[in-house]
């Protein structure tokens, strides 16, 4: 009833290809944006910012980057963690070499470094596919994290070997470093994520998106209808790594505040890959749903026993967490291999025709 599309006629192709051809989708998104931009920031506690709101956005952005490559262009990558690292280290070098640089500009520029590295490691994709490509990107993962450890110039020869985010002001307000307020950082992250998501939606529904999807679905046919596979794959690597690199810079600058190379180990790659798979490959919305699940579940599991008065040690919570998330991943892959986004699509389809069965 609420989602009935009857009566919404399109009289032009422009209207038919608008971002939200169905009015209810636009309203729903408006409500979500209102929550994200107005209600959450003014009701959330410091704890909520640090454990839920900011990480969900950053992980969602990283998963979005990976999804462009894996979900849309069909090129499997296990190097996401390292590409995030490239963004983070590039951003760190920029703000320390050029202290006058606007931090947001630095974050957005750092994506270009990871895009360059991504394209370089994407070149094997012209020759190899599937698992073999995954192994090639795995090489990128190990090589880059090794570089983060060994190349002291990257972390300014710190004794600790870690990068420490400096306090940087923007218009008289601290935006990075220990003195920055969570709410300021949240708004910056939200702004960047909102804009980049919008740009990615446009890219994936336009010419480039169709080129990627054609490459993913059947590369031989794609080439025979006039798609240059090299440009198609390398643009996917470039744009995907750009987004992932920005997510990496945000990860360190707007959330963690400091990072050692081991932060960018393969665990991070897998975490982002899980978000993309559970959320739904080839979907934008899925990245956000997946990030909410993967980031939110541990938080909820931590809070529930305490709230119910069950005495559980924090180590036990940790174990339970791992087990439950593992079980959930298996469950979701069996029940809905196309992820949470498909689940929502099915619900939406049912809502549109409700109360009739078909």
């Amino acid at each position: 009833m609420l989602y009935r599309t009857a009566g919404q006629f399109k009289t032009s192709y422009k209207a038919d290809q608008a971002l939200f051809p169905v009015r209810q989708d636009a309203i729903l998104l408006g409500v979500i944006l209102a929550f994200a931009w107005v209600i959450f920031p003014f009701t959330a506690s410091e704890f909520a910012f640090q454990t839920m709101l900011i990480p969900v956005l950053i992980y969602a952005l990283a998963a979005l980057g990976l999804n462009i490559l894996t979900g849309y262009a069909g090129q499997l990558s296990l190097g996401t963690g390292a590409f995030m690292g490239v963004g983070a280290y590039a951003c760190y070098k920029m703000v320390t070499l050029f202290p006058w640089m606007n931090p947001v500009v630095a974050i957005l520029l750092s994506g270009f470094f990871s895009a360059g590295v991504g394209v370089a490691f994407g070149i094997p994709s012209l020759r190899i596919k599937g698992f073999y490509l995954a192994i090639a990107t795995l090489a990128a993962q190990f090589f880059l994290t090794w570089l983060f450890e060994k190349w002291a110039w990257l972390y300014n020869y710190n004794a600790s070997g870690a990068i420490q985010v400096p306090n940087i002001q923007m218009f008289g307000i601290y935006v990075t470093g220990p003195q920055a307020d969570s709410i300021v950082q949240y708004f910056l992250v939200l702004g960047i994520v909102t804009v980049m998501t919008l740009l990615c939606i446009n890219l994936t529904r336009g010419t480039l998106g169709r080129t990627w999807k054609a490459t993913r679905d059947m590369d031989i046919a794609a080439e025979l209808i006039g798609i240059n596979l090299m440009t198609s794959k390398l643009t996917a690597f470039a744009i995907s790594s750009y987004v992932v690199g920005v997510a990496g810079a945000l990860y360190v600058f707007m959330w963690k505040g400091a990072a050692e190379p081991n932060v960018f180990y393969i665990q991070l790659s897998f975490q982002v890959l899980f978000i993309a798979i559970i959320g739904g490959l080839g979907s934008i919305l899925g990245n956000f749903l997946g990030a909410i699940l993967i980031v939110g579940l541990p938080v909820v599991l931590n809070l529930v026993p305490g709230a119910l008065g069950i005495p559980i040690s924090s180590a036990m919570v940790e174990h339970l967490n791992t087990m439950i998330i593992g079980a959930l991943i298996v469950f979701f892959l069996i029940v809905e291999p196309h992820g949470l986004a498909r689940l929502w699509a099915l619900i939406r389809e049912k809502l549109i025709i409700w109360p009739f069965p078909h």
Partner: protein
């Protein structure tokens, strides 16, 4: 030089000059000779068929034309010029579109998106413009959507335009594939067994579409087909292949009465 005046078909259509010419094409895979010294031409506006028993090298021939294989020897002449060695996507951009024997659609995309991919060779807005969905990218999208809709109307697939291709039955998939090839507005359209696996009714539909395409858009068509009745009815001229060699070339009637062709199809030892 060779004649450019063309000829008039039995049903009174004027056929133009030579659009594509294959000269002494030989294609070898290691020790196997798939195509052995074959020459023929395709004229503007005609429906040209390539027939032959299984394994005769017909699909290889089509792959040579569409640039998927580079011939071991011989040359392809297109619009009066010798075609240099090219990547398949470059050939496609020169106006050669094709369909496949085993349907090669993009299963994860809707019918509309599939047909839109056929227009990719005509779309060149920058990445930035695409990202903000403004300016040239959006205009281009609308222009091409309009052209695609014309093809969708033409092939009568309006009602499934938003359906994911994976859900469609076989006959419709074949039609969508034709739509994708047509959307590119090719100068020459290659059809690899457009009627394989269809029932009589679907074959009739497909035949009608092929004739209409040729009639309405003036598209030159080169097709491979096993159904002799269809081939003889549709095509203006027929090339017959057997074991990689050309054994016949001419109008359907000439080919039908060619002794070599009859032998090849009836399996006379040779």
């Amino acid at each position: 030089m060779k004649d450019t005046e063309g000829y008039v078909t039995a049903d009174g259509r004027q056929i133009g000059g030579v659009l594509m010419e294959l000269r002494n094409i030989t294609l070898k895979f290691g020790g196997v000779t798939a195509i052995n010294d074959i020459s023929f031409d395709i004229r503007e506006g005609e429906i040209r068929a390539i027939i032959g028993p299984n394994g005769a090298g017909k699909s290889s021939m089509l792959n040579v034309i569409s640039g998927f294989y580079t011939p071991t020897e011989g040359s392809v002449w297109y619009k009066g010029e010798q075609r240099p060695k090219m990547k398949p996507y470059e050939v496609a951009r020169m106006g050669v579109a094709r369909t496949f024997q085993n349907i090669a659609l993009f299963e994860g995309m809707t019918v509309l998106d599939n047909v839109m991919t056929g227009r990719l060779t005509h779309m060149n807005a920058g990445i930035l413009s695409q990202a903000i969905w403004w300016g040239s990218a959006r205009d281009e999208e609308m222009e091409n959507r309009e052209k695609v809709e014309r093809v969708i109307d033409f092939l009568e697939i309006q009602n499934i335009r938003k359906t994911p291709v994976g859900r469609l039955p076989y006959g419709l998939k074949k039609r969508v594939e034709l739509a994708r090839a047509l959307a590119a507005e090719p100068s020459i359209l290659l059809l690899d067994e457009p009627m394989a696996g269809m029932n009589v009714e679907e074959k009739e539909d497909m035949s009608r579409f092929i004739l209409d395409v040729n009639d309405e858009f003036g598209t030159t068509i080169c097709l491979i087909e096993h159904d002799m009745g269809v081939v003889m009815d549709l095509s203006d001229r027929v090339v017959v292949m057997d074991y990689g060699r050309k054994i016949g070339d001419g109008s359907p009637d000439e080919v039908r009465s060619n002794q070599d062709v009859i032998d090849a199809y009836l399996g006379v030892p040779h």
